[in-house]
């Protein structure tokens, strides 16, 4: 079946602009995660959804970052007033369920965001 998809694959924007990054999880996966991977680093956790609600948003760096998942499927990561330091690859992952048992997360190809 189809894997996790992310759009756009590349996004170039100017400092101060607003951007939206989209993630389509694997069908039926209730858990969805966002990570950010800066150049030369490992991915860093941003936020985790279980269904429609954010179960853990402790990784969001500041209030310019916000994410939604209104129908429990597609998620959008929103970044306001972008800064050059926001340039990174934004990864999305989904898993069948979450709770007391760990379920493997399947990653999308990422969106490369460049802020000029």
């Amino acid at each position: 079946g189809a894997g996790v998809s992310q759009t756009p694959s590349n996004k170039v924007t100017e400092k101060g602009k607003y951007v939206e990054l989209r993630c389509d999880p694997i069908s039926g996966h209730t858990a969805l995660y966002w990570y950010r991977q800066s150049l030369g680093q490992g991915p860093e956790f941003l936020i985790y959804f279980q269904g429609t609600g954010a179960a853990d948003d402790s990784g969001l760096p500041n209030d310019r970052f916000f994410a939604v998942r209104p129908e429990g499927s597609v998620s959008t990561l929103k970044i306001q007033r972008t800064e050059r330091g926001d340039s990174a690859v934004y990864l999305c992952a989904s898993s069948p369920q979450s709770g007391t048992d760990y379920n493997e997360q399947f990653f999308g190809p990422g969106t490369r965001l460049t802020v000029l």
């Binding site: 995660y33 490992g42 956790f45 898993s95 979450s98 997360q105 999308g108």
Partner: protein, 113 residues
């Protein structure tokens, strides 16, 4: 502080040679442990995982890893590398009380012909 350490930023080995990539973690209890590979332009792919039981785990592409509780280590090994193994390798943990993955900073593997 909780952390995952990959001490080697870049390793170069000859094709056909053996490989060991190091990983140490710092957590109060044994977390779930993983190794991922990321090739240029490719997404993250899970190589293997350890949850409990046998401390030597086998993964895809001929990789294996050994969990050593006394050393808080989870090193990745392969007996004979192929040119296609050139990639970035990430050790990762999931604390048993959480769901998010915590990644190390990665080790870039180059293969010498």
């Amino acid at each position: 502080a909780q952390s995952v350490t990959q001490p080697d930023i870049h390793i170069t080995v000859s094709e056909g040679a053996s490989l060991e990539l190091r990983c140490n973690y710092s957590y109060g209890a044994t977390p779930y442990l993983f190794w991922y590979v990321q090739s240029p332009g490719q997404g993250l792919q899970l190589l293997l995982k350890y949850f409990s039981g046998d401390t030597l785990v086998q993964g895809i592409k001929g990789f294996e890893a050994e969990f050593k509780r006394s050393q808080s280590s989870f090193n990745l090994r392969k007996p004979s590398v192929h040119w296609s193994d050139a990639a970035e390798y990430f050790c990762a943990v999931v604390p048993t009380s959480a769901s998010k993955i915590i990644f190390g900073s990665g080790t870039r593997l180059s293969i010498r012909p």
